[in-house]
Amino acid sequence: MTLHAITVLGHDRPGIIAETTHRLAGLGLNLEDSTMTLLRGHFAMMLICAGDARDTEIEEALAPLTADGRLTVTVREVPEEQVERTDASSWVLTVHGGDRPGIVSRIIGEVAAVGGNVTDLTTRLAGDLYLLVAEVDLPAGVDAEAVRRSLAAAAAELGVGVTLRAAEADEL
């Protein structure tokens, strides 16, 4: 059993997911984690699947998807990753303001500087409005107030607004 990372990118149309997963199922592959979205109208899907097929067989099976030249498919075998338990705290970071180059790198640089890890990220450009929402793990012992201050200073330089708040999970 091996794990394969597959990406499908390009022109959106109905049926891409149905066709991709049908072909993967035909190889006996099991879909594990996946995500799909539209990025400025472009279809973008990433998935990890497990099975006995080799990369080359998967590429061959998915080749018809790319026949009209409007979709790109990549397949790569990847190792099992052990997701380690952590005592990090989880936060949601929001930045919004006028679009300009460098917002993500400047803001996320502040997160990286304290060893923070981004576990999910979305950015959107809507008209003149640039929005970044990230889910961030901060290592135990990091002073969140200090991070908030450094983020606010970076945001002020960029002329954007920033909020960092604890990600709440209601245990039921």
Binding site: V92, T94, H96, D120, L121, T122, R124, A126
Partner: protein, 185 residues
């Protein structure tokens, strides 16, 4: 839940000025991200602003509330009227509050919100389903305390956030809780 009788009977006719429909500003306008100033609820400009907010809300399709920063004025004044919305449970009809603050809240619920100042995006936001808000009425300056639930509570929190320089984007539940809007009212 006890409704506030004073707010229930309030209408914009009490303001005794004609409201004007103003242009609604959109993010990233700086006024939307600034903490609004406190106002004198009896001042003529506050009364005019209150009337203008109601008038602008009335002419905006689907609009259930509007805060001063959304018409470009960085102060703590907003109007709401959720009476026609299907998610409304109890409500106080149309009213305007100045310098309002949430003094108590409970029962968090998540729902998808949009905003006239962020026309192209919506987002899932967790907010209290039951709140107590204190503020002042424009014109008389009377202090009122209002208990609100369900959609009226959500609308009040959204508008009070505007008065403090926060958009719903600052409260979205996570990276996958923001959506490109597909239908416009």
């Amino acid at each position: 839940m006890a409704l506030n009788e004073r707010l229930l009977e309030w209408t914009e006719a009490e303001l005794r000025v004609d409201g004007r429909a103003l242009d609604v500003v959109r993010a990233p306008a700086a006024v939307l991200s600034a903490d609004g100033d406190q106002v004198d609820p009896k001042a003529p400009e506050t009364v005019q602003l209150a009337a203008d907010l109601v008038a602008t809300m009335r002419v905006s399709p689907g609009c259930v509330g509007l805060a001063a920063p959304q018409v470009g004025v960085g102060v703590k004044v907003f109007c709401v009227d959720v009476s026609g919305h299907p998610k409304t449970r109890d409500h106080h009809g149309t009213f305007v509050l100045c310098n309002a603050e949430v003094v108590d809240s409970s029962r968090n619920e998540k729902a998808r919100e949009g905003c006239m100042s962020v026309p192209d995006l919506t987002g899932d936001v967790k907010r209290a389903g039951r709140i107590v808000v204190r503020g002042q009425l424009p014109g008389t300056g009377e202090e009122v305390t209002v208990e609100a639930n369900a959609f009226e509570a959500r609308a009040l929190q959204h508008e009070i956030d505007h008065c403090y320089g926060y958009l719903f984007l600052d409260r979205v539940a996570g990276a996958h809780a923001v959506y490109a809007r597909k239908t416009y009212l």
